[in-house]
Symmetry: C2
DNA sequence: GAGATTCATTCGGTATACCGTTTCAATACG
DNA sequence: CGTATTGAAACGGTATACCGAATGAATCTC
C-alpha cells in the first residue's frame, strides 16, 4: 500500500485560502499581500506563503511590483479584452484538436452538462462552466495548450465573479443559454468534423462578447 | 539620483547560469538539479536556487517531479509538435494585432534584421531570430499573449539548439532564407493589411514544419 | 534469480534569524 | 501651501537549521 497522496503542503493550503479570498472579493484588488502579515495570519512561516504567492501569480490572481511586493491583481477593461482575444484563439484550437479524442468518449463532458443543469448557485454554475471548457482543453492532448489556458483561468474567474457581483449575469435565461450551447458542443464532437467543432466553439465564445466591460 | 536598477539578486544570477548551461547542453536533459548541490556549486544558499528553479520551470527549461525534484526538461518529438502548433496559433495572431503598431514604427525590427545579416555565429542567429519574433509578440500590445509566448521560448531555444548541434540547420542557405522571410514580414507591416500580415507570419512558421523531428 | 524489504543517505518543506532596501508619514524647507 | 527631507517601521532577499519523506542500493526472502 503506497497511499498518502496528500502531503498537505502548507504552501498549497496558503494558496487555496488566498485564492478563495481573492475570488470571493474578500480581499479587494490592489491589496498588498505582505509575506509576514499573511504568514502570521495563517500561522505558518514566510516560506510557504512566498511559494503560494508565486503560484497565484502564475494563475493571474496576484501581481508583483518591481520591488517584489505582491498585490491582488486589479483588472481593467483592457485586461478583459486581452483575455477575450486569447480565449477566442486558444479554445477553438483546443476544440479542433480534441475532436478525435472526444468522438470516442464524451462521458466527462456529459456529466458536466448534467451537473450544470442541476446546479443551484451561481458559484456552482461558474465553476462547472470553467470546468467544461477546461475538460476540452485537457482533451486536446496538448499539455502546453492546457497550461497556457490554466494560466489565464484565474483571471477568467475574476471576470466572471465581477459580472456576478454586478448582477449582469446568471439570470435564468443565460443559464439556459449556457447549458444549451454546451450541449450543442458536446453533440458536435460526436457528429461533426473537427473543423466544425472548432467553428462551434468559436461561435460560443463570440457570444461572450457582450459581457466585455467595454461594451456595457 | 535614484539609480541602482541592478540589485543583482542571487536568484537571478543562479537562473542565468543554469539557463545558459541547459541551453548549451552542458547539463543534459533529465539531469537532477538538486537544490543543495546547485547551491553549494554556486556558493549561495538553497533559497535563491529554489526561486531560480521555479523561474526556469516557467520558462520550460526545468520540470518538477511529483515529489518536488527539479530535472532538466527532456523534450520528445511530440513536445516539438505541441510547440509548433502553438507557435502556429499565437504568432500569426500577434502579427495581426501588431500590424497597426508596427505600421508606425518598425525601427526595432529593422535593426534586428540588419543585425541578423551581420551575425557571425549560429548562437547569435538563433538569439536574433527569437528576438525578432518576440518583438512582434511585444508589439501586439497584448501583454498576456507575450507572456504565453515567453513561457514557450525556453523550449523553442532547446529545439533550435538541438537542431544546431545535429547540424541540420544553419547552412548558408537557411540563414539567407530566414533573413529574407523576416525582411518580407517587416515590409508587410508597412504595406499590407493586418490580415495579410497574419497570413504571412503563418506561412513563415509553416516553413518550419520540415524541421520538426518527426518528419526527419 | 526475481521480487520484496530494509536502511543509510539524500532531498525538499518549513521555521527562524539577519540585513539592506523600500515605504510612507511626519517634519522641515522654500 | 506645495515640495524636499528624514527617520522609523515594514518588507523582501538570503542564510542557516531541523525534520520528515523519498530514494536507491544492499540485503533478505521465496
Amino acid at each position: 500500500m503506497n497511499l498518502a497522496p496528500n502531503p498537505a503542503f502548507r504552501s498549497d493550503s496558503a494558496a487555496s485560502l488566498l485564492r478563495t479570498e481573492i475570488l470571493n472579493g474578500t480581499t479587494s484588488p490592489g491589496t498588498l499581500l505582505a509575506e509576514s502579515a499573511v504568514a502570521k495570519r495563517l500561522g505558518v512561516s514566510r516560506v510557504p506563503v512566498r511559494e503560494a504567492l508565486f503560484a497565484l501569480e502564475r494563475e493571474g490572481l496576484v501581481e508583483f511590483s518591481a520591488t517584489g511586493r505582491a498585490f491582488v491583481k486589479a483588472l481593467t477593461p483592457q485586461d478583459f479584452e486581452e483575455l477575450y482575444v486569447l480565449r477566442l484563439t486558444l479554445e477553438p484550437l483546443a476544440s479542433r484538436l480534441a475532436a478525435s479524442t472526444l468522438k470516442a468518449d464524451i462521458t466527462q463532458l456529459e456529466k458536466n452538462v448534467a451537473a450544470t443543469r442541476r446546479a443551484r448557485s451561481v458559484q456552482e454554475v461558474t465553476r462547472l462552466d470553467l470546468e467544461f471548457h477546461q475538460l476540452i482543453l485537457a482533451a486536446s492532448g496538448n499539455v502546453r495548450l492546457l497550461k497556457l489556458w490554466r494560466s489565464l483561468r484565474g483571471e477568467l474567474e475574476l471576470w466572471l465573479g465581477r459580472l456576478h457581483r454586478s448582477h449582469q449575469l446568471q439570470t435564468r435565461e443565460t443559464l439556459q443559454e449556457t447549458v444549451d450551447a454546451h450541449q450543442g458542443i458536446v453533440e458536435s464532437f460526436q457528429t461533426q468534423s473537427p473543423a466544425a467543432c472548432e467553428r462551434l466553439m468559436r461561435e460560443h465564445i463570440l457570444g461572450w462578447r457582450e459581457w466585455l466591460p467595454l461594451s456595457s
